[in-house]
């Protein structure tokens, strides 16, 4: 156990000294203000239009969405999504709760929701894809594997270090988001209620399970789900890093998978079996909000199972390959 701790210590230090995490923080520091500014503009606009009357704003959105449902030019799956949105907004209106109070917590929630499909995976892959291929391209793998430590222990230590960094990335993203957006929107909003438990079945939204939770609880659940999805990305990234010798190749492979996933989500409702792909299942937070899943029949349990199976397979491939592999150069 102490030995494992020392190995994890090594891996954590290497990732840190390679300044991977610093890069991630810098990216966040540049990107978040951009989105904060965009959100600020949107809030300014609606403030002008509705004079701060969120009920009128919500009503207008419902009317707009309902009107667009009559149009023939909009594809059926989009309509399905809009119908669900209308019902959800109506539910908020009926219960007299503003789903989008402008504050730092709401902004953070929204940012995390959008970041889960591309931005957070990008940061995770940036760390994961270098773990083994980086040692191979620099040649240090020879030193690493000729020490008296079993190979599976070395890979396990890398996996544990990666898990730590995945957690750190998610927490850092949320914290920086809160701190930066708070400058503009104020730091309140932790206890504002938000509804969760909408279930989409066919064209209808089932509201029988809906209950209000404070935003901080919602944010926690969201972070937990993002963590699960990102661990799958991280494990597959580690696997690719074992299989591919160059860091660049392994990074590109993994990002291509993530990006194609987020494209498929937008167009795959007619390709049913796409729901077994890991990259279509990364948006776990949509189940929390109650927006319809990309493909009919997907549920939170289903997505978790798919991600779990992919992760397990990835782990098996990574460990078997890593422990058997001959190191020629």
């Amino acid at each position: 156990m102490a030995e494992m701790l020392a190995l994890v210590h090594n891996e954590v230090i290497k990732i840190w000294k390679k300044k991977r995490f610093l890069l991630i923080v810098l990216t966040l520091l540049i990107l978040i203000p951009v989105f904060v500014y965009a959100q600020y503009k949107i809030t300014q606009n609606s403030l002008e239009k509705f004079q701060g009357d969120w009920r009128a704003e919500l009503q207008t959105r419902i009317t707009d969405l309902t009107r667009s449902l009559g149009s023939d030019r909009i594809p059926e799956e989009w309509k399905r999504w809009r119908r669900a949105m209308v019902q959800q907004l109506q539910y908020y209106l009926d219960h007299d709760i503003n789903p989008n109070t402008p504050n730092a917590v709401t902004f953070t929630r929204g940012f995390m929701e959008n970041a889960v499909s591309m931005f957070i995976p990008l940061m995770v892959v940036a760390v994961a894809s270098d773990l083994v291929s980086g040692e191979r391209s620099s040649g240090t793998i020879k030193m690493l594997l000729s020490r008296p430590v079993r190979r599976w222990r070395i890979l396990a230590s890398k996996l544990i270090a990666l898990t730590l960094y995945v957690s750190l990335i998610i927490v850092t993203t949320a914290v920086l988001c809160y701190l930066i957006s708070g400058l503009v929107f104020g730091y309140e909003g932790w206890t504002e209620p938000i509804f969760t438990g909408f279930r989409v079945s066919g064209a209808d939204v089932d509201t029988s399970m809906v209950h209000a939770v404070p935003q901080y609880a919602f944010l926690l659940m969201q972070a937990g789900l993002i963590w699960c999805a990102m661990m799958c990305v991280a494990i597959l990234g580690l696997m690719v890093s074992v299989l591919v010798r160059s860091t660049a190749a392994s990074f590109v492979t993994m990002m291509a998978a993530v990006i194609s996933g987020s494209i498929l989500v937008n167009m795959a409702s007619s390709w049913q079996s796409a729901k077994y792909l890991f990259n279509v299942n990364l948006g776990l937070t949509t189940y929390l909000q109650g927006t319809p899943p990309p493909i009919e029949g997907m549920t939170l349990g289903f997505s978790l199972a798919v991600l779990g199976i992919w992760s397990l397979a990835g782990l098996i491939v990574a460990f078997v390959t890593f422990t058997r592999q001959d190191i020629f150069n």
Partner: protein, 341 residues
């Protein structure tokens, strides 16, 4: 100990041979038996066997592509042997790598370290991978390789020689019984090579076994007590360096002021064989110093007589030089013997 001294004196005419016999009584540290490696359908290592004993410098000699590096990678558990056994201090490397590797320090090819960390951080990194290595030990190996001044600088600022030192420091961390160095003189300047040689000898004198690969016979002659010669994935000879080298002809080069009549005179002697220009493979660097020299093969003991005959005939002698055979020639001799036998 007395035996060792006597043996040392006996071999005193060969400058590198001072401790040559020291290994004889040492225990076997590394034992390789019937090592084979197949990749796909191709056998790249056929059958490699040898023993390395405590206190000896063991050379592993072969041209590039002969299977040297593959063998070394099998000894350091980077490549899994298809067949055969490697035991290090009695521990089976394939079955219990975590035990066997404890006795080894190694540098495989270039000493690649994490260049985004300092030398010290690199040593700490490798120290954490094995039990019982203290800060004091890290400081000690830093002193041993003479890197104390720069140890807290990033490795990316190191020269090749400094990286080599850091690599050796890393390899010494766990007080290994066996040190494996793969082409250790690569990229070092002549002074660095000389220092390394002395360093290797010192380690052997302290009882460590050293396994050193090279593609240069001269290097092995200068450094090693015993040698295994590998060609095309097979060990073709194992033995004392001198004895193996003696199997190939040593040349005697004559530079005379009258080469034409000198050549005639030398050729008259049945004990001297004149070697034609294209029949030998002496290094060009050696020939450059003696342009137009007559290349002969003869006994060392017959040189004085030949000198007096030349002098008596009024032929001036500018230089007489003995030149060791090259690795290629040794190979030819050894493989010849193999096919005849």
């Amino acid at each position: 100990m007395a035996d060792e001294k006597a043996a040392g004196k006996q071999a005193a005419n060969a400058p590198v041979a001072d401790k040559r016999e020291a290994g004889q009584s040492g225990e076997t540290v590394l034992s390789v038996k019937g090592l084979k490696k197949r990749i796909g359908r191709k056998m790249i290592i056929h059958d490699v066997s040898f023993d390395v004993r405590a206190g000896e410098v063991f050379g592993f000699l072969g041209p590039n592509g002969s299977g040297k590096t593959t063998t070394i990678r099998m000894l350091t558990s980077l490549i899994r042997p298809t067949e055969g056994e490697v035991r290090i201090c009695g521990d089976d490397l394939v079955r219990h790598p975590e035990r066997a590797l404890r006795h080894i320090g190694s540098i495989v090819e270039n000493p690649e370290m994490y260049d985004f960390m300092t030398g010290w951080e690199n040593l700490e990194h490798f120290a954490r991978m094995q039990p019982g290595i203290t800060r004091e030990r890290i400081a000690e190996v830093t002193e041993i390789v003479g890197l104390a001044q720069r140890i807290h600088d990033k490795v990316k600022t190191y020269s090749l020689g400094m990286r080599q030192r850091l690599g050796i420091a890393q390899a010494l961390l766990n007080r290994p019984k066996l040190l494996i160095l793969d082409e250790p003189t690569n990229g070092l300047d002549p002074l660095g090579i000389k220092e390394l040689r002395a360093f290797i000898r010192r380690l052997a004198d302290e009882g460590m076994a050293l396994f050193i690969s090279s593609h240069l016979l001269s290097e092995i002659q200068l450094m090693c007590d015993r040698v295994a010669i590998i060609a095309r994935g097979r060990v073709i000879a194992v033995g004392k360096v001198d004895e193996l080298v003696a199997q190939a002809d040593t040349y005697t080069l004559w530079k005379l002021d009258d080469p034409v009549s000198g050549r005639k005179l030398l050729a008259q002697n049945p004990d001297i064989r004149i070697v034609g220009e294209h029949e030998h493979r002496i290094d060009d660097a050696v020939l450059a110093a003696l342009p137009g020299a007559i290349v002969t093969v003869m006994d060392e003991g017959r040189i004085p007589a030949a000198v007096s005959r030349l002098t008596a005939a009024g032929i001036g002698i500018m230089a007489v030089q003995r030149v060791s055979p090259t690795l290629e020639e040794l190979f030819l001799k050894l493989t010849e013997a193999e096919t005849i036998g």
